[in-house]
Amino acid sequence: MSEKADQIFVLLQHWLVSLLPAGWQQPGGVVLAVLVIICLFPALFALAVWMERKGLGRIQNRLGPNRVGPFGLLQPIADGIKSLTKEDIVPRSADAAVHFLAPVVLVVTVFMGFAVLPMGRNMVLADMDAGLLFYFAMGASTELAVFMAGWSSRNKYSLLGAMRAVAQMISYEVVLLLSSVAVVMMSGSLSLTRIVEAQNHYSWGLPHWYIFTPWGCAGFVMYAIAATAETNRSPFDLPEGESELVAGYHTEYSGFKFALFFLGEYLAMFSISGLGTTLFLGGWSAPFSWLGWVPSWIWFFAKLMLSIFVFIWMRGTLPRLRQDQLMNFAWKFVLPMCLLNLLVAGLWRFMGDGWPRWVVCSAILVLAYVGMGWGEMRRKHFGARSYRYAE
Amino acid sequence: MMGHATPLTGFLLVAALLFSIGLAGALTRRNAILVLIGIELMLNAANLNLIAFWRYGPHPEALTGMMFAIFSIAVAAAEAAVGLGLVISIHRHAHTTDLDAMNRMRG
């Protein structure tokens, strides 16, 4: 029975596709899967918006929206309708074509990132051999959309916000790539389905997820930092710093285009935490061997929602980082740790099974972390601020 | 997907066209950055040729064409970085990116 529940969606797809004439079967299946993704994730986006507003409320000792619908569940729909009916003002001096294209490019590239994520046992839209590289290729083109948005609005604040956002996304994309290269090194393949299968074994009931190895844990922490920065969230949301940059690169957008940016940001959050669960948290594999009967796609979406909650939790807690702190942190702390993590992963691979490799690898990583952390904190003289003025 | 319907010459013609467009851009434009854009286009046209010959060549499993293309992508990226660095530092001193104005070496 559990096998049928696990493959319920795949069987559904085959049954629907079988209704089509023979020639159209293969493309029909793909179109069906694309339709599912395009409907499912905006629905999850509405759920995430609700979770975020209620979660932040609870963190700040208040209730959060509870007027529209039971427990405020219809609040995202109300927001959606509001943003659809709002007037869409395009500044006269804005560059109309690029101004219109920016949100479209952003949402399209973010949606294409979902094609390679394995959401359940053989439930992946496109099982590419170089799936991870495809994902990062799509991730890289969102920066361009951000720049287009910032530049085309012809507004100093949005240009400043766009420059900050692009600089931040580029430096943390390097970290994102390097922290996932360690996973590729260990699983031996760029295809995400094989990475999940490599993690899908159990010893004494505990899964072989990569997060339970020293290099995997360090890699996951750095991946989480880079993921938060890549989606301009919580401590790294300087580009949309309301206080000083009004709303960063989407200042001059209103109505539906602003809703598209909002959707784009949340979809990026979903896809990057989806990739995080696939690389480090074992994708759709169950946390314990005796829980194997639960359908695989439930695990994927449970982990996804958990990481969304951690995003919200961090947003409710951490103060915003300044631009230079943010860049220094990326280039001077996280990147060296990532390179060291690659060495440690190599060491882990060739030290063979047994407890010594656990001790050695974790010792190197902890020592490096404490050493660099101490070095970083010692030089940090919290004295008066020094200002550098542009000539 | 069964073999390609388009013969090799199609790809070569497109690559040649792209190459000459890049060359035209590099030769006729006044702004230094647009000359670099032209050069990027020429490099990409060469990549397209490499991949086309690899795909239509006798031994595609030898991966030579594709390896060349990947290395050429890496080198082109490095070249673009250094080229733009130069343009920025020239702009800082001469406050112009106009190629016709950069004649201080004429002596």
């Binding site: - | 000459s20 239509y56 594709m66 990226a77």
Partner: protein, 170 residues
């Protein structure tokens, strides 16, 4: 000539032409990314999956942003006062046309002279990333190390060249 090929060719050539001819430099850079995307689709069409994704990642992800940053840093986005084309643009155009004529002639000649492999492609090779990895670590390990060295040198060089001189800056 399949429809896909024509579509991609049109997209790429249009992107290239726009990148060269537009007046506003930032529009040129965006048109350049369209040309890069067209080329990446060409690579995917030629079953070079790894090269196609690498092209998107390196060119659209990095080089396009680099060009755009350079344009903004050198205040290139304002339309230049004295015309967009250099003085002797006609000569440049003539040279480019000449080059295209020569290349085109050579391509058409070769197609006529060498029938057979030039025409139909061989069976689609199953190129997996593992093979690329083995090739990179096997036959091409030397170029790989040299390119690594080159990239580091270019990284440091570009930073030093474009870095802000502390003392003695005018």
């Amino acid at each position: 000539m399949s429809v896909v090929f024509y579509l991609l060719a049109a997209l790429t050539v249009a992107g290239g032409l726009a990148a060269v001819m537009l007046k506003n430099t930032v529009h040129c850079a965006l048109a350049l990314t369209v040309a890069f995307a067209g080329l990446a689709l060409f690579f995917l069409d030629l079953d070079a999956q790894f090269a196609g994704f690498a092209q998107i990642l390196v060119y659209i992800g990095a080089v396009a942003i680099l060009v755009v940053f350079a344009i903004l840093l050198t205040k290139g986005s304002e339309t230049p006062k004295d015309g967009v084309y250099s003085r002797n643009w006609l000569a440049g155009l003539a040279i480019a046309a000449g080059v295209f004529a020569v290349l085109g002639w050579a391509v058409l000649q070769s197609a006529r002279v060498l029938p057979g492999p030039g025409g139909t492609p061989t069976a689609t090779p199953e190129v997996t990333v593992k093979e690329i990895g083995n090739a990179l670590m096997g036959r091409y390990v030397l170029p790989l190390e040299i390119v690594a060295l080159l990239l580091t040198a270019a990284l440091i060089g570009a930073v030093i060249v474009a870095m802000h001189e502390k003392e003695g800056a005018k």
